[in-house]
Amino acid sequence: MSVLVYTESEQGHFKKAALEVASYAKAVADQLGTTVTAVSVNATDTSVLGNYGVDKVLHVASDQLNSFNASAYASVIKQAVENENAKVIIVSSSADSKYLAPLLAVGLNAGYASNVVAAPSGTSPFTVKRPAFTNKAFENIQINTEVKIIGVSNNAFGLVETSGSASAEDFSPTIPGFAVKVESVDKATDKVTIADAEIVVSGGRGLKGPENWGMIEELAEVLGAATACSKPVSDLGWRPHGEHVGQTGKPVASNLYIAIGISGAIQHLAGINASKVKVVVNTDPEAPFFKAADYGVVGDAFQVIPELITKLKAFKAQQ
């Protein structure tokens, strides 16, 4: 009756979100007085999961699963759930997990709560908290089915290290045929993604043109951050669409969000409100972003950002 967690990996290595969902699974298992079993697919070394509360790993090795396929992965996890007789399943909020979780929910007749931001406030009834109305409120929801799926919002729970160790077991599920086939993947593998990033540096129309993004990228590099932008910036073609954050773009739930030359329109804020600490740099002291931000600099980005980069480099060098 263990808690089952799906720990995503990429090129053999666990994503940070995998360690976060493992930490979350451990918290739920402690509430229920049970253990944590992880399912991992094609990870090279699963031992690190023990440091985040996993007791047992079901290790799936399959060339067929080298590229992600939602229904096949859902089927693999379903077989693991049945194998373990698990009643609570934890997944992340990555694009892949959000793709497979509804399929898994149907397959298991399980109630599913997505984007959950905290450990369950109770397990009987099973109640979790998640954002609603695009971060303008939180919803407390009860999952009433016997089997439950929780999708944990990125960076909401954090990593919790323990001193345990995880035993590994080979697991060989039946892998169904693929009705959706991957033809090609276009992805910058060396960059921090918005979904994973702890820090996001974002630029708006105040930066005047794509030629000025060098300083945004440099600031991001110094901070180990992902870069993002407001909607008009991607609409104008200054930056790729995948960087557009906000209500109609990507949600951001980073620890630090730095908004440069962004006004702070409600649609933009809706997508980034889940970030913990917000810094705004804007020439206009009346920009709405100052009401939503924790720290603000009223100033010209073209002066502030280069200087901030120099100072941060000095600060990092001292650390």
């Binding site: 939602a70 694009a95 959000k98 979780a101 509804p102 399929l103 929910a105 149907v106 007749n109 109630g111 599913y112 997505s114 609603a132 109305f133 303008k136 409120a137 939180f138 919803e139 999952i143 009433n144 009705a179 959706v180 086939k181 991957v182 033809e183 993947v185 276009d186 992805k187 910058a188 593998t189 918005i194 979904a195 994973d196 820090i199 901070l223 609409d235 669409h241 995948g242 209500q247 109609t248 630090l256 409600i266 409100n273 600490v277 810094v279 705004v280 009401k291 939503a292 931000a293 924790d294 720290y295 600099v297 009223v298 100033g299 002066q303 502030v304 200087e307 901030l308 100072k311 600060f315």
Partner: protein, 248 residues
């Protein structure tokens, strides 16, 4: 090709969100409702198929009579017929079950749903429809081409995109990119007049008990005032981010 477009009836983005009955119910008072922005992309792409390749478009909403103006708006944009499943939408699963039932019995080839709705942000309905009907499914879809029974789609992944091929029947969780924003349509007078004559069928729900229940809502804690740092004192900003906020 017969297309079913899911239309969620959601509060306009700029709406103030409030709750009543001891924070257990959403307060719709004074709230302007619109077509969920993600669904608008799907509807517009469906219109493209209709105009360029030939297709019929039904729009569907699971909800009470109050959602009909939103369905009429979709008809005014160009859908051929509307279906309202006459039940209050409670959770994603029960909504998906209603739509899956119409999809399975209606001879549709393609369901266009939005990646998520901007009220409950569940991101579950499209995948659940696919799961319930065994149709193929592409989520976070930013491009869709259909050639006979074959489909090529691009989906957004973390840090990039992926091109996939599949076949009909297909369910799409769509988003910006499916069409250019400049292609989104505002109903014109002719469309609005025609929409009045188009069929809006009310069907009774199938049995589907919810799996999850919203028990209460809360607003985020009020935020303290912003701490302003002079542009001449960026060391102070670094200090605050390091020592106070502990994020660098």
């Amino acid at each position: 090709m017969k297309i079913l477009v899911c239309i969620s009836h959601v509060p306009d983005t700029t709406s103030k969100i409030n709750f009543t009955e001891d924070n257990t119910k959403f307060d719709a008072n004074g709230v302007q409702f619109v077509i969920n922005p993600y669904d608008e992309f799907g509807l517009t792409r469906a219109m493209w198929f209709k105009e360029k390749q030939g297709a019929s478009i039904d729009v569907i909403n699971v909800g009470g009579p109050e959602t009909e103006p939103t369905l009429r708006k979709a008809l005014a944009i160009g859908a051929d017929a509307a279906i309202r499943v006459n039940t209050v939408a409670t959770d994603a699963f029960s909504v998906a079950k209603q739509i899956a039932n119409v999809f399975s019995n209606g001879g549709y080839d393609l369901v266009m749903a939005g990646r998520e709705s901007i009220d409950y942000n569940g991101g579950m309905v499209p995948g659940m429809i696919a799961g319930l009907t065994n149709a193929n499914f592409v989520n976070s879809c930013i491009s869709l081409e259909i050639d006979g029974a074959n489909a090529t789609a691009i989906r957004e992944i973390d840090g990039g995109k992926e091109t996939v091929s599949t076949s009909l029947p297909l369910v799409i969780g769509g988003q910006k990119g499916l069409v250019e924003e400049s292609d989104l349509r505002i109903p014109n007078m002719r469309g609005i007049m025609m929409a009045r004559k188009k069929p809006l069928t009310v069907v009774e729900p199938v049995n589907a008990s919810p799996e999850t229940i919203s028990v209460s809502f809360e607003k985020p804690a009020p935020k303290g005032a912003v701490t302003l740092v002079s542009p001449d004192n960026l060391d102070e900003l670094i200090n605050l981010l390091h020592n106070e906020a502990k994020v660098i």
